[in-house]
Amino acid sequence: MTFIKKTLVSSIAIAATAAMATAAQAEISDGTVRIGYLADMSGTYRDLAGPGGLEALEMAIEDFGGSVDGAPIEVFSADDRNSADVGANTVREWIDQRDVDLVAGMVASSVTIAVTKVLEENDGFGIVSGSAASSITNEHCTPNHVHWVYDTYPLANGTARAVVEQGGDTWFMLTADYAFGHALEGDVEKVVTENGGTIVDKVRHPFPTDDFSSYILQAQGSGAKIIGLANAGSDTVNAINTASQFGVVEAGQQLAGLLVFLNDVHAMGLDTTQGLLLTTGWYWNMDDESREWAERYYERVGSMPTMVQAGIYSSTMHYLEAVQATGSDDTQTVREYMMKQPIHDFFARNGRIREDGRMVHDMYLARVKSPEDSTHEWDLYEILTTIPAEEAYRPLSESQCDLVQN
């Protein structure tokens, strides 16, 4: 009797759960939208996303009103310490124990690739804002993430092409020895050779590296016109500083910083960086809309936002709008809606999310100002040209992503 009773009760329970699950697809799971912010909060990439990115995320939530149709928005964050293991384990815990709806931030590409695999296994959702590797929406694409701000393809396409067109046709590549560096190196090599240039030699340095003197000496010995820096953060800063100490530019070679952030230029100063060409997804002083947002951010953080921090705000807004419009935080429902909506805000121009998860938008080729041309501390870039959204990113016809029908 007890047995029958138990079975009966459990069948009813199962039936009830199943019914609830169906209903839940059209509503916000357990009445709260939970956003987990994962980034390097203390290491080499801290200043390009880090605590500033979390502040941008919170700004977006405040501007949205703090809740979606009465469902409160909860935010928590963690430091991935640029470790793929730490990142993946944190997100696994967020999914299992905290019912996270969106993972935002994500900086080091190696961490992102590990995290998006966890998201795919658990049908979670992530918006990648900090990472650079174009492979994140190419061979590593999943239906469970989108990639927002930039990637290595437009960096190479913008900067490398411009440099080769100006006569810089022999390159020495200085590459950070991990997923992002390799992706960027590959994309640059392709652009350089397609435009008639050659890669003379390359060195892959450990990540992170403090002392670049040895590599700079090798680059000087190579006789290449251009030293391409396929690294980021403090590695780029160290490489550029060392090059300036060793008189690289005076001796006739040029540096091409392929991934340079606003905070890097600010840290190095205009004396060292003037004239550097770079590709960026956004610049705070681009127009009125950008300035208006950047100044609000500056009030709160005390420094001007990088493209990544601005992108975190923009993508969070787009996500929350999708949750509100669909009344759901179910991954595929939200992602589908986000893909249908064009993106046009202070950050993204002519933006849309493609089926591989890549958010394509206009990119900009910029040049670092000379100290004489700069009017204040954060007046650092001059925007030279706009690279239209549809030309900037890797065309879908070349995609290896399983989500793309080729």
Binding site: S42, Q220, G221, Q245, G247, A251, T272
Partner: protein, 295 residues
């Protein structure tokens, strides 16, 4: 052109010189560690933080007090040395009678606190410290362009290393020190103030780290995390040289700089790991280190 294993002689010589310069840094830092461990038996995990504080003192001194580089070279180690003496007096002394592990944990904790606090205020991008005017520019050596400042670093670091070695191994003060740590009770009976000697030694050890920090300020961005990356390498150098061996720290520091420099040419991917490979080999063959005394 003469080639050495596929690398032109000129490039090879240049790399050796750069390796030597980095080695001088390692020597200076591991020397401080070796002095502290050899004489006090404290495994000073705050050494990287002290190096970083030396660089920060230089930067902030210039920004807010107008202290120039040459003055900082003296004042920053002095300030950090004083802070070190306070730490020894107030904290390390209390756990002196416990296992080494406690000192290690305490100094590691201190390092994290220093680093975390500064990250909070300054971020990690780092700030630039200008090269002093008189050391700007460089020499064209034929096989390479050597920035004047790096030549100065090499000379200054080796000079300070030799001075320290002489002080500890060849002077009366050094003899007191060594005797005081060997048999404190007996020394005290002779009327030597051993606790004061210990405090001064710790202060001197961390002042060496701060001196390296001042030398580093114009070379690398001054950032709160600059010490933590270096610390592990420096510990490996000390282990290879033999924990506590003064001469071992200096010679091994220079040698590891050279080995790392050559790795950067022949197999750059391994540049960050080569010193640890050497460490493993040394530990397998001579567990007390190259210059260590048999226990």
């Amino acid at each position: 052109m003469t080639m050495i294993f596929g690398v032109p002689l000129a490039v090879f010589t240049g790399q050796l010189l750069l390796g030597l310069i980095n080695g001088a840094f390692y020597a200076l830092l591991s020397l401080g560690l070796a002095v502290i461990f050899g004489l006090l038996k404290i495994v000073n995990f705050a050494h990287g933080a002290m190096y970083m504080l030396g660089a920060f003192a230089t930067l902030l001194g210039m920004r807010y007090l107008g202290i120039n580089y040459w003055a900082a070279l003296l004042l920053a180690p002095l300030a950090v040395g004083l802070a070190g003496m306070l730490i020894e007096r107030l904290l390390l002394r209390r756990i002196g009678h416990l296992d080494h592990l406690y000192g290690l944990l305490l100094t590691f904790g201190l390092a994290l606190i220093f680093e975390g606090t500064l990250v909070n205020f300054f971020g990690v991008s780092g700030a630039r410290y200008p090269t002093p005017e008189s050391l700007a520019g460089g020499y064209q050596l034929g096989f390479m362009f050597l920035p004047k400042y790096r030549a100065w670093v090499l000379l200054a670091a080796i000079g300070v290393c030799l001075f320290t070695w002489y002080m500890i191994e060849r002077t009366r003060l050094g003899a007191y020190l060594r005797a005081g740590t060997e048999n404190p009770a007996l020394m005290q009976a002779f009327g030597v103030n051993v606790p004061l000697l210990v405090t001064l030694t710790y202060g001197f050890g961390v002042a060496l780290a701060a001196f390296a920090g001042v030398l580093a300020a114009p070379l690398y961005p001054v950032s709160p995390t600059m010490g933590s990356n270096l610390l592990i390498v420096v510990f490996a150098v000390v282990v290879i040289g033999g924990m506590g061996s003064i001469l071992g720290a200096i010679v091994t520091g220079l040698a590891m700089g050279l080995i790392e420099g050559l790795t950067k040419v022949y197999y750059p991917e391994a540049a960050n790991t080569v010193i640890f490979l050497v460490m493993i080999l040394v530990l397998l063959i001579r567990p007390t280190g190259l210059f260590g005394k048999e226990a």
